[in-house]
Structures are given as C-alpha cells and as structure tokens.
Amino acid sequence: MRVVDLERTSLRELNQALHALPADTADLRWKVLNPRGMHAVAVGLDAPVSVEIEGNVGYYCAGMNQQASVLVDGNAGVGVAENMMSGVVRVTGDVSQSAGATAHGGLLVIEGDASARCGISMKGVDIVVKGSIGPMSAFMAQAGNLVVLGDAGEALGDSLYEARLWVRGQVKSLGADCIAKEATDEERQILAGVLAKAGLEGEVAAQDFQLYGSARRLYHFHIDNVDAY
C-alpha cells in the first residue's frame, strides 16, 4: 500500500502521482493521511485503484472519478464525486451541498447526511444516502437513482427530468413538476440492485421506499405560460 501524508507531501504531488498511474498499475491501494479539509483531493482519477482518505476533505473530493474506488473516512465538503463517470465513492460521515452533482455514472454512498442540492443535475449516477438529504436535492436531475434511507428536505426534485428519487422517510415538500409515483416491479428491481451495490442487501427492503419522479409537465412549452416570457 502507498501511504501519502498530506502534512508532508503536497496535494498536487499526490494528485499527479495518481494521474500518472497506467491502466495496468500494480499500485492498487493508496492511503491518504491528514487531508484537513483540503479541496480537490483525489480528483480526476482514471485507474482501477482504491484510495482511502483518513479524515475530513474539502470541496470536490473524487470529482470526475473514473474506475477508482475512493473512501473518505470522515466528512466531505461541497461537490463530493461531482461529475463522476464510473467507480465508487463512499463517505463514512456527512457531506456538504451538491454531492454527486452532474455525475454520469458510478456509485456514491454517503453513510451520514447530505446537505442541500444532493444529486443536482445528476445524469446517470446512483447515489445512496443512509441518512437524510437537505433542501433542493435532485434539482433538474436527468437520470440515475437517488436513494435516501432517511428524509428529504424542501423542494425535492424541482424541475426534474427522468431520474428516479427513492425516499424511505418523509419528504418535506416536492419541487415543481416532481410527483410521487407508483413503482413498477422492474423499477423496484433496479432499486434492489442499487441497494445491493451499496452493500445494503438484506438490511434494507426495496419495498419500503416511495418513488418520486417527473410529472413531465415542464417538458414542452405551454401556451398558458406565454406571459412569463
């Protein structure tokens, strides 16, 4: 295992070393110590390595991730795993706003709570939050699954396109054009698959979640709204 202590090595050196890894690298396991809330830790990875970060990280940790598995043993700041394409990002604590923003693929697991705008504009990522999520989550979400074991804050799924929002607890309020939906068996199976990927098989039942999705009333221009322009 490669151990990098950010009290002694610069963040740039760490990220450059991770970026330089070839696809067939033998350096498969990395540990990062003392991140102390630094921004952009382990961003832009594109190799099948696992990176364990011990402590709290700042903004954009594991952003743009591809292939890699990143574990944050602590809290993460704004935009964890934003724009992730593939791979797995797991945070043992809480995360700040815009977790998984615009992410296209991969799996983001948050073991604590996520604050505002979790999954904003998500484009295919699966996000599993074991705690609760803050207001304005999944704003303009386009694809993927946002799975919340706890509660959701105000204006969930405002201006939603086609992502599936699964909430086990209470939803404070729904945003414009977001509605509760009856899940099909196929959709429940997709949810069960996401829960299994997150390691929750047997612990959490897919039947316990309410599905929310787009009412599709904002897809096309409506003549009644002409005065708004």
């Binding site: 809330g37 921004h39 700042g58 809290n75 700041g77 809480d94 700040s96 706003q97 604050s115 207001p135």
Partner: protein
C-alpha cells in the same frame, strides 16, 4: 467569494488563546479573501468604561488619548494597535467623547464602540492584517472575522468587515445583496447614515435599525429574511456571543463545529481544522433561513 469565521469559547482556560486561534482561522481563509481582512474580539474592560475603537494614521492618533482625557476631565486608557487605537472612556461620557473626536479629529473614524467589543480591519493579506494588529496575542471570550474578496464595492479599509451594527455588535457577511441600494435609501430616510457603497454595510444598518425599533438580535435577523434579497451568510457578534444566519437557499457555504470547549464557525472546514480537539467535535452545516445563536450564560 469571501471567508468568514467565528469562535465562541466555552472553556475559560481557552480564552487566552482566542486571538491566536482566530488569527489562524483567518489565515487559512486567505484564499477566499485576499484583499482585506478584519475581526472583532470581545474582552472585558473595567466596569463603567466603554471601548471606542478608532482608526486613523500614526500622526492623527498621536496624542489623541491625552487630548480626549483633558477634554473629558477623566482618565482615558489607550491601547494603540497599528492604524487603530482602542480608547477606554467613561461609559456615561460616550456622546461627549464622540463629539470631541468629530470636532478635533475629523479624519479619525470610530470603527465601533462597546463594553467588550474591539474591531480591527485593514486592506492586505489576512495573515499580515492579523499580525499588524497583534491578534495572536489577544485574549477574549469570542470573536468573529472576515477575509474579503471585493465584488460589490472598492477595496478600501472602510469597505472591509466587520461593520458595527451598534454597541457591542458587528456583522461579517459572505455573499452579495441585490436590493442594497433600495434598502439603503429606505434606511437613510429613517435617519441612518452610511460611509460606503458596500452592500454589507447596508445589512449591518438594517439590523441596527430593526434593533433600534425594539427587536432582539434574533428577531432582527429573522426580519432580514423578508427584507434583504440576495446571497448571504451572516455572522453577527454581540456582547455575549454570536449569531449565524444563511439565506433561504443556503447559497454561501457554512460549517460549524461544537465541542465542550468552544463553538466555531467557518466558511469551510479548513478554517476549523487547526482548532484543538476538532477531531472529536460535532461538525454540522447550519440550515438555511434559521437563526443560530450562542451566548454566554
């Protein structure tokens, strides 16, 4: 951008380190606000006295305390800190002291006044500003600070935060208000005066005005949710503690840490990472549109 910090000490044993901890928090926030910096720190003064924080130049502050003491016929204890001077005057003679200053030292600004509050602010890197004012050597029960990246108005000492909102009260702000011109005009009609074109000064003036009408700090902040439009995280220092408010969509970042020894606020976790025992702190983000306040018992 901009960085804001706050520290409220619960364990008196930590009070001698208040300035050192606040200075370090400000230093970390330099890259959110490299233009200018400022802070308010709260520490006791002798009973019956009031601290006036004055800002001028070495020349304009020279001999000022002696002149003020002679005019008031009372001793005035003065502590110079670079471009600032904290003068302790008899609390009952505040108006006289201000009138004398306006008449004899029109170039000296009263940055703030209070039983416990001192305010310092200057243009420059936050680390340098903290060092110039010897913040690391100050002790206190609590303090708030700001690192500025100017967006709404010029980079000047007057445009730096904190802005005083009244006796022992001041405000730091991260964000930008969109209706500050109309609110400023309203407040001017109500008799308030403003030194700058700065939006944050308007927020400070707004709170002053509300509290003048009888609102508590918490009520004034709650009213601001309806009257101030824009993005903001406010931290307001008061005689016995501080309060935090984020706008209804929590546009600007905020993170808090609470331990048995202190409560700390930072724009980012990085600002809190150097605090003692932070590993065991309860770290959380304040919710939008909710007033949080911590006060000494």
């Amino acid at each position: 951008m901009c960085g804001i910090v706050g520290l409220f000490i619960r364990d008196p044993a930590l009070e001698p380190r208040a300035g050192e901890l606040l200075a370090q928090m400000l230093g970390v926030m330099s890259d959110r606000g490299p233009d200018s910096a400022g802070f308010a720190i709260y520490q006791d003064a002798p009973a019956g006295t009031l601290k006036l924080t004055l800002r001028g130049t070495a020349q304009s502050l020279e001999g000022l305390a002696d002149g003020l003491a002679a005019a008031l016929g009372a001793p005035v204890r003065a502590e110079p800190h670079d471009t600032h001077l904290v003068a302790q005057v008899p609390a009952a003679r505040e108006a006289e002291a201000r009138a004398w200053l306006a008449a004899h030292h029109p170039d000296v600004a009263v940055v703030g006044a209070g039983r416990r509050m001192e305010i310092y602010k200057e243009v420059g890197r936050p680390d340098d500003v903290a060092r110039r004012f010897a913040l690391p050597r100050m002790s206190g029960s609590h303090g708030i600070g700001h690192t500025r990246m100017a967006t709404e108005s010029a980079v000047t000492t007057r445009g730096a935060h904190p802005f005083s909102t009244g006796l022992d009260q001041c405000l730091v702000h991260n964000g930008s208000l969109s209706n500050h011109n109309s609110v400023r005009r309203t407040l001017q009609r109500e008799g308030l005066s403003f030194e700058t074109e700065n939006d944050s000064e308007v927020a400070a003036g707004y709170l002053t005005w509300r509290m003048r009408q009888g609102a508590t700090l918490k009520e004034a902040l709650e009213a601001s949710l309806g009257d101030l439009d824009g993005f903001y995280t406010f931290v307001v220092g008061a005689e016995n503690g501080f309060a935090v408010l984020r706008d209804p969509i929590a546009c600007k970042p905020a993170v808090m840490a609470e331990t048995a020894r202190y409560v700390a606020f930072g724009s980012e976790y990085r600002a809190l990472a150097g605090l003692p025992g932070i590993e065991e702190a309860r770290v959380f983000e304040p919710e939008p549109a909710r007033v949080y306040a911590w006060e000494r018992g």
